[in-house]
């Protein structure tokens, strides 16, 4: 497991438990891309909230 995925492990796990469809976790050119379809607006908001906790400046990965 690499550093980026480690850092965002909480988010990736949360995406799994929010039952995000077609979840894809990819790393390309040093950027971690987490894509998927959230089952609801609430789930999406929760994941963004989680992301905000991990990266308060929103400087890193993308959704």
């Amino acid at each position: 497991m690499n550093a980026l995925q480690d850092k965002y492990r909480g988010l990736i796990d949360a995406a799994g438990s929010e039952q995000v469809g077609n979840l894809q976790v990819r790393e390309q050119d040093g950027v971690l891309y987490i894509d998927g379809t959230a089952p609801s607006g609430l789930a999406k908001d929760n994941l963004w909230k989680k992301y905000g906790e991990l990266d308060p400046d929103f400087a890193g990965a993308m959704w």
């Binding site: 894809q24 990819r26 390309q28 050119d29 950027v31 891309y33 894509d35 963004w48 905000g52 400046d57 929103f58 400087a59 993308m62 959704w63």
Partner: protein, 157 residues
């Protein structure tokens, strides 16, 4: 004469008794098969277990062989399992600069203090933004699928 007959009879009895103790191919096959993972087919003939099918990786192939070897009555294992080709994830699709620039312009127009430039898929944000507005701005920008967003120069206040 009689002694010879007896010897033959004894030999036969011994053979019958001996083969009675030895697990039969069919039984071994059932037992090995029941312990194997999905995708593995087991055939046993004369104590030789042949494994066929497709497994996820080399480790699974080795494990299947070990498990078959551990089975009582298996003399040897022919491991004919194949390993699935690793499926590479599809590359990340980044929006081209022209459409990206247009949508980025739209996305930041509600934030007049933020300036955004686009180059090679990278959105660079400068200026300043209220901390409370940051999540919404970033969500909107990320949904446009840029390569990444460079926001270290952006002042969050």
């Amino acid at each position: 004469m009689n002694l010879t007959k007896f010897t033959i009879a004894a030999a036969m009895l011994f053979t019958v008794a001996f083969s009675g103790c030895k697990p039969k191919d069919a039984d071994i096959q059932t037992s090995v098969q029941s312990k194997q993972m999905t995708g593995v087919t087991v055939a046993v003939k004369d104590g030789v277990a042949t494994l066929t099918g497709e497994v996820a990786d080399e480790a699974a192939k080795m494990k299947a062989e070990e498990m078959a070897k551990a089975e009582k009555g298996v003399k040897s294992v022919m491991n004919n399992l194949t390993v699935m080709a690793a499926t590479m994830p599809a590359p990340v699709v980044v929006t081209a600069d022209d459409p990206l620039s247009n949508s980025v312009r739209d996305a930041v127009k509600d934030h007049p203090t933020v300036t955004a430039t686009v180059a090679d898929g990278v959105v660079t944000l400068t200026g300043s933004v209220k901390k409370a507005d940051l999540p919404k701005l970033m969500m909107n920008l990320q949904s446009l699928k840029p390569k990444r967003i460079e926001s270290t120069q952006l002042i969050k206040n």
